[in-house]
């Protein structure tokens, strides 16, 4: 019999399997491939499907090996298909490691890197990437109408058996039966499988997965009266396939399983009514009376809620509260029993013993808890009810174009804006101000539209132009200027919390962020329709006509500050997504969505469910690379498709070379400390693993060192042998011109954060010096010494490990004689390694020449679980991806299974029926013109925000904007041509102290950029070139802090004469000018900048070298601009404040200059006249006329 089975297996393996399976790929994801066997289909008939999950031996990406596994082949072979025609779906688990550095697996187990597989008892709540892909494939395949969705089965072996347990317990509704062969089960999930037929197979002597794991599960399932079969093969090990295939009746059993209706699938349908009754009469009342006050709707202490089944089983901060069937392990029982000192519930008084006994009994008998009514509703606290006040809030109402009013003094109106403004002024019995004088006007509009002062010539030309459209001509000229985009793009960058570094606790350079900035500038210059601007920023990578430019636009999603070093990766991910949700909602809709992360919004109709519907979209978007200890953001190559091919070819080549190098490295003989020797000398270049390159040529004959390849972090590892365990002394020889404190790890333990931290003077061999690093514990046999630095390491030459000794060992070295000591005697290998290193360096250099942008990847697609209290440690029910429920009449379908939903989100945001997006942007533009919005809380259009001062005008502008194709430039023209914009500025009347009715134009202080740029214009130093980056710090290395050079101002070219928009924004090291003059915190979205008048601004104006330097330059410049002092004074006034000084002003200025000159001369200062002029110019720059625009 056994022999027969063996022959059978051989026969199966020899069948041309590949012909039985089609090779396919997930829609839109050519890299996610799978195999599908399709039966011979008769029209109108439906066929079952078997999802087969392979074992760990056939992981990979060949899409070949898994279908050759005996069971996959068994289902697809002709004999089986004759009687049981079925689809067989075979996905493949990727080889390699996931984002957290764990080997890919169908299931992510808690503690899997610390514990042996037999002790993996609890899977992480979130499905592995691999199973998510598999589910996406399954959903895709199930669209085939020939598949009978009532007969979908899952079967797997070993690793696949574990996957089978996971899938069937988490997605019981998808499957009609499961076959789990020698897999790891989770008994805590048994209650989920109460209704699912499962056949378990295991070998008694399985050395890989203990048979107990199947025995215990079978027992647990029986407690639920689950339809379980358990077959244990006596004496069998881990390889069971042939026996399973030989199991009589297996196929018949499997294909007979079918669920007749959805309800039948619900485990509750099978619940023992007696147990349900027990729960309702003996358990639920106890929970309600004693627990729900602190673990209910209002409070969820410890992250735990006990008022619904879903949240009770999801558990709290310390994990699930209830382990069905296991009272001893259930924290709920331990708490009520007062077993643990720090977990005693209820806190004030222990429950009566009889009540505790009931609870214990209930848990032991499976903790049966019928699904609560409405528990499928996604919100933590049930479905959020919108109050009438919420529903009727102004910003959610459809935008209707209001009629333009006819105010009393309509003759002063120049366009519709004025009519709206005038009618409110009428009502308040206020008069508008007269039109401002021409010099004021041209200065105002020039600063407003391009952020620079007008030149004296431009002022003169406008004064001379008496035509009625003179001002309109100026406006048009300014809007056509390339500097317009720099000014208005900069406004948008406040909203996009733009920066060139990450900030937060690891202030890494985002050296490619500038491509987003330049995209924004050019989008404004090109007057890109606003809806397109929105779509590109949300989904520029997914648009049908995606280009490098639209890819750069997605930088919007990428720019938030992130806690890159957070060791709790799920938390980091949840925080990154939170930042994206919050910024997107506030930027485009003025909705403070961040509030809904932890609970339904308290004031606005923003349920937690809607938050996680949006979070799912960003969760299905990959913007973070978590594979390294310090995580980083994703970047994508920019440019033509042929670049893509070249880039992937280069990446492949590098990967191949690396792998070959690793192998060559492994073949090296490990250096070993002889039992009799005092120490072992190792050459730095003889490392076992590392990402640095070996340098042997440039430093002189025979001198080998290691150098960085600039793919930080630098990492070098040495393996070597020690005869016995104990403390050994480590000595290092290296050269370092600057301090490069490096992490030293011994056998994976971080021993020193700042090893090799000395400065030796230079990078050259002459500067190499020996240092005793310290004494450390090593073990007997193979040890691993590693150097790790998030940046370049010092130039290491050699190191020594030796017996602890007062006298350093290196002193006893004769370097000439010992050169090459312990050099592995594998010259050919070393030569090959050297060649490989050279080839890697060439390929890496080429790769670095391709431009990249910060941009996300789409997928893998997965809905987000609601996180109880926003904590990544407490995931609950999943919410389908989607949008805000309060916004009606926007006909955009919910995202499908093959895409994240960003494209749909972008369409939804820009849909003409979305009442928020157009209102929010026209309000922003109004605010950037007038200093205040019609709604003064530009980022909050909710009920806690402000109501519009002119709601009709806001809606009229919003409709006008949409009718005009979302053209921002047209809106500028409309606004600038209004009398409201052109009126004079004056002080506010008592009737309207805050000038909300706009009876005059509000005077404004220049913002940081305009103030700095204006000084550079007046001094003649402004470099007007457009675009590009001033960053020299390498991408993803420290821009500030860490091991970044200390002098950030120099490093970032803060002294550049370029326009301020091009100064790098280093979140933890802002330019002084920005820090002083109310530049917003670049880590947060800012719709309106604060404006303060503080003494540090005065100190900066009085004493900063920058302002003093500009004063000198202006003084020198005006010497050329006039032949006498009067002309020079006039030139200074015209340049700096766009006006002609009065006679009195001239007299005072000259008196000041004369007095200063004589004071200076008396003090013996050279160039006293020139210095006196510089003092005058300094005062002019500090004057209100310069700093404020009227």
């Amino acid at each position: 019999m056994n022999a027969m089975r063996w022959i059978l297996v051989v026969l199966i393996a020899s069948v041309p399997i590949a012909n039985a399976f089609d090779a396919l790929a997930l829609d839109g994801h050519p890299d996610i491939r799978y195999r599908l066997h399709t039966p011979k289909i008769e029209a109108g008939k439906k066929y079952p499907l078997v999802l087969y999950l392979h074992g760990s031996g056939t992981k990979g990406s060949d899409n070949e090996k898994p279908m050759r596994e005996p069971l996959a082949a068994f289902f697809a072979r002709a004999e089986t298909q004759k009687d049981f025609p079925c689809f067989v779906l075979v996905p493949q688990c990727t080889d390699g490691k996931d984002a957290l550095g764990r080997p890919h697996n169908w299931v992510n187990w808690k503690g899997q890197s610390e514990l042996p597989p037999a002790q993996w008892t609890e899977a992480e709540d979130e499905a592995s990437e691999q199973l998510k892909r598999t589910l996406a494939i399954l959903d895709d395949v199930l669209r085939n109408p020939a598949i009978d969705s009532q007969r979908v089965y899952v079967c797997g072996v070993s690793m696949g058996g574990s996957g089978t347990w996971y899938l069937s317990s988490r997605h019981a509704e998808k499957f009609s039966a499961a076959i789990a062969i020698c897999g790891l089960s989770e008994t805590r999930m048994a209650n989920k499988l109460a209704a699912l037929p499962v056949w378990i197979f295991h070998g008694e002597k399985d050395a890989t997965v203990p048979v107990a794991r199947s025995r215990e599960m079978a027992e647990a399932l029986k407690k639920f009266n689950a339809p379980v079969r358990f077959t244990e093969f006596p004496g069998a090990g881990h390889g069971l396939e042939s026996r399973v295939i030989g199991e009589a009746g297996l196929l018949k059993w499997l294909f007979a399983q079918k669920h007749s209706s959805k309800e039948a699938l619900s485990p509750e349908a099978k619940l023992d009514p007696k147990l349900v009754d027990f729960f309702e009469t003996r358990v639920r009342p106890v929970l309600l009376a004693h627990c729900v006050e602190c673990h209910g709707e209002k409070k969820h202490k410890g992250g735990l809620r006990l008022d619904s089944r879903t949240s009770a089983f999801a558990g709290g901060d310390i994990g699930p509260a209830i382990m069905a069937g296991d009272a001893e392990k259930s924290p709920l029982i331990r708490a009520v029993r007062y077993t643990d000192e720090d977990l005693q519930m209820p806190p004030k008084l222990k429950l009566p013993d009889a009540v505790i006994a009931d609870l214990v009994e209930w848990v032991k008998r499976g903790a049966v808890w019928p699904e609560d009514k409405g528990a499928q509703a996604v919100s933590v606290g049930g479905e959020m009810q919108f109050s009438d006040a919420m529903k009727s809030h102004w910003s959610f109402q459809p935008i209707k174009k209001p009629a333009v009013p006819t105010p009393k003094n309509a003759e002063s109106a120049r366009n519709e804006i004025d009519r709206f403004i005038l009618s409110k002024l009428d009502a308040a019995k206020l008069q508008p101000s007269p039109i401002a004088d021409k010099r004021t006007l041209v200065r105002r509009v020039t600063f407003d539209l391009i952020g620079l002062p007008p030149s004296p010539e431009e002022v003169a030309a406008f004064e001379a132009d008496t035509s009625p459209d003179a001002f309109s001509k100026v406006t048009k000229r300014l809007l056509a200027s390339p500097h317009y985009g720099e000014r208005w793009g900069r406004h948008w960058l406040d909203v996009a919390r733009y920066a060139d570094s990450n900030g937060s606790e690891v202030d890494h350079a985002m050296a490619n962020a500038w491509r987003y900035r330049d995209y924004v500038v050019s989008a404004f210059n090109a007057d890109m329709p606003f809806d397109q601007f929105v779509r590109e920023q949300i989904a520029g990578d997914l648009l049908p006509n995606a280009t490098g430019s639209t890819m750069a636009a997605t930088g919007f999603l990428m720019l938030g500050p992130k806690a890159l070093a957070d060791l709790d990766k799920p938390k980091l991910l949840a925080d990154v997504i939170d930042e994206q949700v919050d910024t997107t909602c506030r930027a485009f809709m003025g909705m403070t969505m961040g509030c809904a992360r932890c609970h339904d919004h308290k004031f606005d109709p923003l349920p937690t469910a809607d938050y996680y519907a949006l979070a799912g979209i960003f969760r299905s978007t990959r913007s973070m690379d978590m594979s390294k200890r310090v995580a980083t953001w994703t970047e994508r190559p920019l440019g033509a498709t042929d670049n893509d091919a070249r880039i992937s070819a280069l990446n492949k080549r590098i990967a191949e070379l690396r792998s070959e190098r690793d192998k060559s490295g492994k073949e090296k003989k490990k250096p070993a400390l002889a039992a009799s020797a005092k120490f072992l000398l190792v050459e730095a270049e003889h490392f076992t693993r590392g990402n640095v390159r070996v340098e042997t040529d440039s430093l002189g004959k025979g001198i080998g060192v290691i150098r960085t390849r600039m793919e930080y972090p630098d990492h070098i590892e040495y393996e070597f042998e020690l005869p016995e365990a104990g403390e050994y002394q480590l000595e290092l020889r290296y050269a370092a011109k600057e301090k490069r404190a490096t992490q030293l790890l011994i056998n994976g333990n971080l021993e020193d954060e700042s090893a090799a931290a000395e400065v030796t003077g230079d990078w050259t061999p002459a500067a190499q010096r020996w240092f005793v690093q310290g004494a450390y514990q090593f073990k007997a046999g193979t040890n691993v010494l590693a150097f790790h630095r998030d940046g370049p390491v010092p130039i290491f030459d050699k190191w020594i490990v030796g017996r602890v000794s007062a006298e350093p060992h290196w002193k006893s070295l004769d370097l000439k004689k010992t050169a090459g000591v312990n050099k592995p005697n594998d010259d050919t290998n070393a030569k090959r390694v050297k060649e490989i290193d050279a080839a890697i360096a060439v390929a890496s250099d080429e790769l670095s020449k391709f431009p990249v942008v910060m941009a996300p990847f789409d997928g893998p697609v997965a809905d987000a679980p609601i996180l109880a209290r926003g904590s990544a440690a407490s995931p609950g029910a999943r919410v389908p991806r989607g949008f805000l429920r309060i916004v009606k009449d926007v006909d955009v379908p919910r995202p499908g299974p093959s895409q994240s939903g960003r494209l749909e989100l972008a369409q939804w945001l820009t849909h003409p029926n979305n009442p928020l997006t157009a209102r929010v942007i026209v309000n922003r533009i109004w605010l950037w013109h007038f200093g205040e919005g019609l709604v003064r809380s530009p980022d909050n259009f909710g009920r806690r925000g402000e109501t519009p001062s002119h709601p009709e005008l806001l809606d009229w502008l919003a409709t006008w904007f949409v009718e005009n194709g979302g053209s921002v430039k047209k809106l500028h023209e409309l606004i600038c041509s209004s009398a409201t914009y052109q009126q004079a500025s004056r002080t506010s009347s008592a009737a309207d102290p805050e000038n909300r009715l706009l009876a005059h134009f509000p005077r404004r202080r220049l913002d940081a950029e305009a103030l700095r740029d204006a000084m550079l214009v007046v001094s003649g130093r402004l470099d007007r070139s457009i675009g590009g980056s001033l960053m020299t710090v390498l991408d993803r290395t420290y821009a500030n802090g860490g091991n970044a050079p200390a002098d950030i101002a120099k490093q970032m070219h803060y002294d550049t004469p370029r326009r301020s928009i091009y100064l790098p924004i280093i979140r933890n090291g802002l330019h002084d000018f920005f820090a002083v003059f109310n530049y917003p915190d670049p880590g947060m979205l800012t719709g309106k900048r604060a404006q303060t008048t503080v003494a540090p601004q005065a100190l900066f104006m009085m004493n900063s070298p920058f302002v003093l330097e500009q004063s000198k330059l202006i003084a020198a410049r005006i010497q050329m601009l006039g032949k006498d002092d009067r002309e020079r004074l006039r030139a200074a006034y015209e340049l700096a404040v766009s006006r002609v000084p009065s006679e009195q002003e001239i007299a005072r200025a000259l008196a000041f200059i004369d007095r200063e000159e004589s004071e200076l001369r008396a003090g013996g200062a050279p160039n006293s006249r020139q210095v006196a002029w510089a003092r005058f110019c300094h005062a002019l720059l500090a004057s209100n006329d310069f700093i404020y625009v009227r």
């Binding site: 720090d342 900030g503 937060s504 606790e505 202030d507 500050p561 957070d566 060791l567 709790d568 925080d575 919050d582 403070t592 509030c595 932890c598 308290k602 011994i746 056998n747 333990n749 971080l750 021993e751 954060e753 310290g774 004494a775 450390y776 514990q777 200093g931 003064r936 909050n940 806690r944 925000g945 002080t987 805050e994 509000p1002 802090g1041 979140r1067 090291g1069 915190d1081 880590g1083 947060m1084 604060a1090 404006q1091 303060t1092 008048t1093 503080v1094 003494a1095 540090p1096 005065a1098 100190l1099 104006m1101 009085m1102 005072r1148 007095r1155 003092r1175 005062a1179 002019l1180 500090a1182 004057s1183 209100n1184 006329d1185 404020y1188």
Partner: protein
């Protein structure tokens, strides 16, 4: 000695009108935001700033302390080697720790090589209370009767960056206002000629400026850095401070006033007046700051008290002495950073000895000096790092990060000397009367007369607090 009179900074007559009040208080060093009057407010979603956001405010509750000096031990000193005496650790030396934390910093913690390690230092009972202090701190040991030891401090983040941000801003991942900026927002400051929140030689790593930033609070509440961790304390300066009482600058400011008269005269505009006055106050500030920074005016005895006579203690001594001078001048919150020196993953014995030596005498000197000047009663001194270190050995001779249980101490400012909370018998986990970072913040605010649940700021649609949605006032520390 020359001191700065906290209220004598402005030579104006008593305020009689709102305008005079603005003149007097509205143009201090930190800030003046008259914007509220002018329709250009720096406001949070509609709430205008008061005329002088830094004017001293009455505390919500009876205040025990008026100001805080936070001696920040960056890197995380080991509790079991300093103030948290654990005799059982010696009994279990070399054994595995019975309970391991979920989240650890070094990869191998909790696995091989991480055995319990008894403190290499001797502990002796000190003071009247007999609190056990290790020989690392002979001088601070003499002050134990002033201190309230919080032995059960704990946090969540095992890495420096997140833990430092948490300690200073109450959050690990988001952009939130720092502790000092919350205090300024809640209490204002007494001396308008000096910043109300000064951080001495702050680190530019582990959050950098964010640790004294104001985030969404108005910028007037942000901290002002004096020097940086790269500079020696005695060379530390405020940025852009000009010469004191410079005659040429005085003349220039007079001329500037004339230049500005055109606009001011025609418009009677308080913001423009404020701008003019801000130059005057900056000028006065230039006179005030050098005086307070000039520690050479301190007596020899005082200098010696802070260890200024020994190069090894002079650096931290300078910082502590500056902190006292700022406190005396009415600065609300002063942070003193050691720089990232306490992070001994290896070489614990040598480096902890050095670090303790460098800071012991100066910190003890600060306590004594405050006491002898009668300032300790209303000055709250805090000592501690962003976390502690494991009682287990990391590698050969180091200890790993331990956010699960560590010691901080408070002194002065209405604090009852003694001890609160405890770690387990090995000093690994806080077990008794646990004090989370949020609880610490709630307690500090309470000592300053602020209710942490009521000190809120509306931003992005909700009211934010230093303590987020947590925090418990540890009443046991109150005198």
């Amino acid at each position: 000695m020359s001191t700065i009179n906290p209220s004598g900074c402005c030579n104006f007559s008593h305020p009689v009108s709102r305008r005079d009040a603005l003149r007097q208080f509205g143009v201090g060093f930190g800030g003046l935001a008259l914007a509220g009057l002018l329709g250009q407010p720096a406001r949070a979603e509609g709430d205008a700033l008061p005329a002088n956001p830094l004017a001293p405010k009455k505390p919500m509750l009876p205040a025990k302390a008026k100001r805080i000096i936070f001696l920040f031990m960056h890197g995380g000193p080991s509790a079991v080697d300093t103030f948290d005496y654990k005799p059982a650790l010696a009994d279990h030396d070399g054994q595995s720790a019975p309970r391991q934390p979920k989240l650890t910093f070094a990869a191998a913690n909790g696995r091989e090589g991480s055995k319990l390690w008894k403190s290499p230092w001797k502990f002796t009972p000190r003071g009247k209370s007999g609190h056990m202090v290790s020989e690392l701190f002979p001088h601070l040991g003499a002050q134990v009767d002033e201190m309230c030891f919080l032995h059960s401090c704990h946090g969540t983040a095992p890495d420096h960056g997140a833990a430092v941000l948490k300690m200073n801003t109450g959050t690990e991942a988001f952009v939130r206002p720092s502790m000092g900026s919350w205090l300024l927002y809640g209490l204002g400051t007494e001396n308008q000629n000096l910043p109300g929140f000064i951080t001495i030689t702050p680190s530019d790593t582990h959050g950098g400026v964010r640790n004294y930033g104001s985030a969404f609070l108005p910028a007037v509440y942000q901290g002002t850095a004096l020097g940086s961790e790269h500079a020696k304390a005695r060379d530390a300066k405020f940025r852009f401070l000009g010469k004191s009482n410079d005659a040429a600058q005085r003349r220039e400011l007079d001329f500037l006033r004339e230049l500005n008269q055109r606009s001011a005269a025609s418009e009677r505009d308080s913001e423009l007046e404020a701008r003019i006055n801000s130059y005057e106050l900056a000028f006065k500030m230039q006179m005030a700051a050098p005086e307070v920074l000039d520690i050479s005016r301190e007596s020899k005895a005082t200098q010696e008290l802070y260890g200024m006579n020994d190069p090894k203690t002079a650096e931290f001594g300078t910082k502590c002495l500056l902190a006292r001078r700022f406190a005396e001048a009415g600065v609300r919150f002063i942070q003193v950073s050691t720089g990232l020196v306490w992070d001994q993953h290896g070489d614990l014995v040598k480096k902890h000895t050095e670090n303790a030596f460098a800071s012991d005498k100066p910190a003890a000197g600060l306590l004594q000096d405050l006491k002898q000047r009668g300032m300790l009663d209303d000055t709250l001194v805090i000592w501690g790092g962003e976390f502690g270190r494991t009682p287990t050995r990391e590698g050969g001779n180091g200890r790993d990060h331990n956010p699960h249980g560590y010691t901080m101490w408070l002194a002065g400012g209405g604090v009852k000397p003694g001890r609160v909370g405890a770690t387990d018998e090995l000093g690994y986990f806080a077990v008794e009367n646990k004090i989370h970072v949020n609880d610490l913040h709630a307690t500090l605010l309470a000592l300053m007369g602020l209710d942490h649940e009521k000190l809120t700021y509306r931003y992005a649609g909700r009211d934010f607090r230093l303590t987020d949605v947590a925090g418990r006032v540890v009443r046991e520390v109150f005198a």
